[in-house]
């Protein structure tokens, strides 16, 4: 029961984090379209790190 609540919290946290990453990357691209490639690469790396954290927590809490 508690681990299910924990899993839900993890997913909420990861969702907020991914939203922040995506939103800020969009803002950055809108301000500086010529830096699109660099911003996208950095965005994907950070999203992947966050995803690894979320999956790790889910995996341990299962």
């Amino acid at each position: 029961m508690y681990n299910l609540i924990g899993a839900g919290l993890i997913v909420i946290g990861a969702g907020i984090g991914l939203g922040q990453i995506g939103g800020k990357a969009m803002e950055g691209i809108a301000r500086q379209p010529e830096a699109t490639g660099k911003i996208q690469t950095a965005m994907i790396i950070i999203a992947a790190l966050l995803e690894g954290l979320a999956f790790g927590a889910l995996f341990l809490g299962k």
Binding site: I44, I45, A48, L49, G52, F55, G56
Partner: protein
Amino acid sequence: MKIAQKSIKFILIVVVAFFTSVNFAAISEKNQDNQSDGGRVNTKEEVEAYILHHIKDSHDFSLFSYTSDAGERKHVGFPLPIILWTSEGLVTFMSSNFHHNDDGHVIVEKNGLKFAKIHSKIYELNKGASEVTFDETHHAKNAHKVLDFSITKSVVGVLLIGFLLLLWFSSLARQYKTQKIPTGFARVLEPLVIYVRDEIARPNIGEKHYRRFTGYLLTVFFFIWTLNLSGLTPLGFNVTGQLAVTGCLAIFTLVIYSVSGTKGYWMHMIWMPGVPVLIRPVLAIIELAGALLIKPFSLLVRLFANISAGHIVVMSLIAIMFTLKESLGVVGATGLSLVLSFFITLIEVLVAFLQAYIFTMLSALFIGMAVEDHAEHH
């Protein structure tokens, strides 16, 4: 030549379509059979068992199974060799000897030893025992596990894809001896190779060192990508969703960036310069845990969880046509399931590429951190 290629393509499409349709037919037939028994079937439980069975590795390559008119369970597929290292040395036999039994009731006798298969694990029975007895938590009491080197379904997948990659890339490499621009399928591979080199290896590792590691990064990229894509075919591989496979790939990356790490990299980790002396041991613990445990663990879990979760979602959406049949009707449930699983499968094609890209990208990033020159900072 053109016609031959076209007919090969046609045959491939027919084979794929056949397997897909038969797979679904097998499930629905099973369902009908249970309903005609009169007993209430728990479709949800059956679907869950089916999905869990698919996610796990197995000792035989089963394409599908169905119940014949006589009420007999039929399995279509082919057996794989089982290779065991037991208390009395090497023992080999084919997995068909178990007759698809998975709860330890079929005993295989070989070289005077008795074996049983329980939940996809091979057990050796103790001396004098003739059948497996279970305690109340369903653990075998008079049998023990043996070292299992069998060619399982995942091993077949790895060997198949490895052979395929060898074939494709050696033909690509051979073409450069005689011509500047490759022809045929190699023309698809060349831009991908250049993409990995110029977009992943070069910016992350640096101009000076990237050539040394491009070979490893290319291998890992194409290995993961083709295995991910093969998991979406009706053959039902789930190789990159096995912890052992992703763990091995993560360990390769760990060994490569640990061995090729410069003196500056290790000194920054163990005895960070420019920080008060009292904080240095604390930082060393955090840095070492990060480099030796957390980095490979995150690589391992990300690939495993993404691919396994993708397979579970696709199969659950296919299962909608059985679980919602009563409330939506046959046409409604099938239509809903078809639409949802079609689009999720398209997303899975994207995820297959993305996961291969991210694994390669992070490997390159970690290697780049280990080999970069630290001298200019102080």
